[in-house]
């Protein structure tokens, strides 16, 4: 480590700031780019970008149904670099959702959700939900046809939650329909409550990582040598940040954030679609009874996520992508199975006769809910059981396979919803839409 002592120390305030965020020394093994891909740092940087561009947009945006659309037009066409700021805000919002999701997958596949990192994982999940909510509340603000109907559809989903659904919807919308009160609510959530909660939780998230001894490393690298944060970690972070900024600026100058016609509550566009990250849910809604789509499935996944760090695991295969060689193999099998089974399921549900119409006597919660749900959950269970037996997987490898099945099928459902659903939400090829 001689080169480090030769290194000229940077100015004191800067050095202080860096060492406030980072420990003085970090493990050499954690610097490997392919361990983390720098995803967590990218997410943090994107949040900062969102705060700054958002604050700039706030100077001109007016949150009322009469003025919102026009103020967006002013930002787009009547301000120096207004369009650029809006584009950056739009693309970094989408990028943030992607990066946060990938970050979660990275943490999962390297087994970094285990104790003592359980709090980091749980608050990370809360942050992911907040990122989705932030995206969703921002979706309404331009008040064009796209945002109005996407929010109408998504909030109507809430009505299918028994007992409390109507109450939650009324609170969120500030009434029965999307209107002026909804815009006020969404604007305040988007520019106040959600970012504030995110910043507080991010602080906690980072502190817990440091408390757990930094980024996870494999058991064999426990005694990894320590290197100075400055310059070894800081230089790497700078490279990632600059590349990310370059990609963001390039995207924002080449592609404009969408803006359709002014919102018209009397005419829904055909097809009317939810925001792209909810398209998997909307697609699922075509196949399942709403109670299963809106309550059972999301709740099961969310609770499963919170429960995950508390499941007793009897191995120490962490810090390595996909845990073990066997883990890699089973991950690949699960990937292929989900990629094949989900389209088959969609086509079967589309072209086989509708059970609801065949036997109209039985309520649709059974024919469209319990029966197809049991079929799907049952086939996933048996698939995992066979995989578990054939490859003699341990518990963490089985959980990993389950997550891959869930994530892949959601991705396929989302892609189907976005690219293969045209007029009247009928299945068609992307070029026919």
């Amino acid at each position: 480590m001689n080169e480090v002592s030769d290194y000229k120390k940077p100015a004191k305030p800067y050095y202080n700031l860096i060492l406030h965020l980072h420990p003085r020394k970090v493990k050499l093994q954690t610097l490997r780019f392919t361990l983390t891909f720098g995803l967590g740092g990218m997410a943090a940087l994107l949040v900062v970008i969102q705060v700054f561009t958002g604050l700039l947009l706030k100077f001109h945006y007016e949150p009322s149904p009469e003025n919102a659309y026009d103020s967006i037009l002013t930002i787009r066409d009547g301000l120096l670099f207004g369009k650029m700021v809006r584009n950056i805000h739009h693309w970094s919002a989408i990028l943030l959702l992607w990066i946060t999701f990938l970050h979660m997958l990275r943490v999962f596949f390297t087994g970094a959700y285990r104790k003592p990192r359980h709090a980091t994982w749980i608050f990370g999940m809360v942050l992911l939900v907040l990122v989705v909510l932030s995206n969703f509340t921002g979706y309404l603000l331009p008040w064009d046809q796209l945002s109005y109907w996407a929010v109408t559809i998504s909030t109507s989903l809430l009505e299918y939650i028994p007992l409390i659904g109507h109450g939650i919807k009324a609170s969120l919308l500030g009434g029965q329909e999307v209107g002026s009160a909804t815009l006020t609510n969404f604007f305040n959530l988007h520019t106040g409550i959600i970012p504030l909660s995110m910043i507080v939780l991010m602080g906690y998230h980072f502190w817990r990582i440091r408390k757990a001894g930094g980024v996870i490393v494999a058991e064999k690298d426990k005694e990894s040598p320590l290197v100075d944060t400055q310059p070894h970690l800081v230089a790497r972070e700078l490279v990632v940040a600059l590349v990310l900024l370059a990609v963001l600026l390039l995207t924002s100058s080449l592609f404009d954030a969408p803006l359709r016609e002014r919102a018209n509550p009397a005419y829904s566009p055909n097809p009317a679609k939810a925001p792209w990250y909810f398209m998997g849910l909307q697609e699922l809604l075509i196949h399942f009874h709403p109670f299963f789509t809106v309550v059972v499935i999301p709740l099961a996944i969310l609770l499963g996520g919170f429960w995950l760090p508390y499941i007793r695991l009897n191995d120490s295969n962490y810090g390595i992508w996909f845990l073990t060689g066997k883990g890699k193999k089973s991950a690949l099998y699960s990937l292929v199975a989900a990629l094949v089974a989900t389209p088959v399921f969609i086509l079967a549900s589309e072209f086989l006769p509708d059970p609801e119409k065949l036997i109209p006597v039985i309520p649709s919660i059974i024919t469209m809910g319990i029966i197809p749900f049991t079929l799907v959950a049952g086939s996933v269970y048996f698939f995992l059981k066979i995989l578990h037996k054939k490859l003699t997987l341990n518990r963490s490898e089985t959980i990993q396979s389950l997550l891959i099945v869930l994530v892949c099928s959601y991705v396929v459902l989302t892609l189907t919803g976005i690219f293969f659903r045209g007029e009247g939400m009928n299945l068609m090829w992307p070029w026919q839409i």
Binding site: L157, L172, G174, E177, N185, S268, A272, G424
Partner: protein, 171 residues
Amino acid sequence: MKKTPPDINLNKKSERREFLKTAWKILGLVAATELVFLTFNLLRPGKDQKKSKTAANLKIIGNVEDFLPGSVTPDRVNKVYMVRQKDGGFLALSLICSHLGCSVLWNEEKKQFICPCHSSAFDRLGNVINSPAPRALDYYPVTIEGGKVKIDTGQKIKRKKFDKNQVTYAI
């Protein structure tokens, strides 16, 4: 003065500490529940101080003779379809789909209301022909006074399916 044995004293102390800890946790939980409840209630619409509460929101949709028997006429402003029965009765259907709140469109060839979002279909009485819509289109009570057809926009009524007494006749 008698000395208390130290171990008993310790036990008592830790018991008290445990109790206080639990009490703090419960209080924290109560406070959090209150906060969530208050936040959700604050988001709801307040009572409008400008409008009087008692007056019904009666809106004139048109004259009786504007609607031919057997016709379906949209009123996009009030978000309603006025359906005139063959026997002259009036039925005011909400144009908001009962599934996810998109606005349904009347298809004259098929004689159906079709929702663009998930292709739910309803017949001219608002009954579901094609799922995923879970129930018939909502309706508004119609009143007819002095040749004018009016609906009460404050009273959107949910229903499972069509029933004869949802229709109003001009006398």
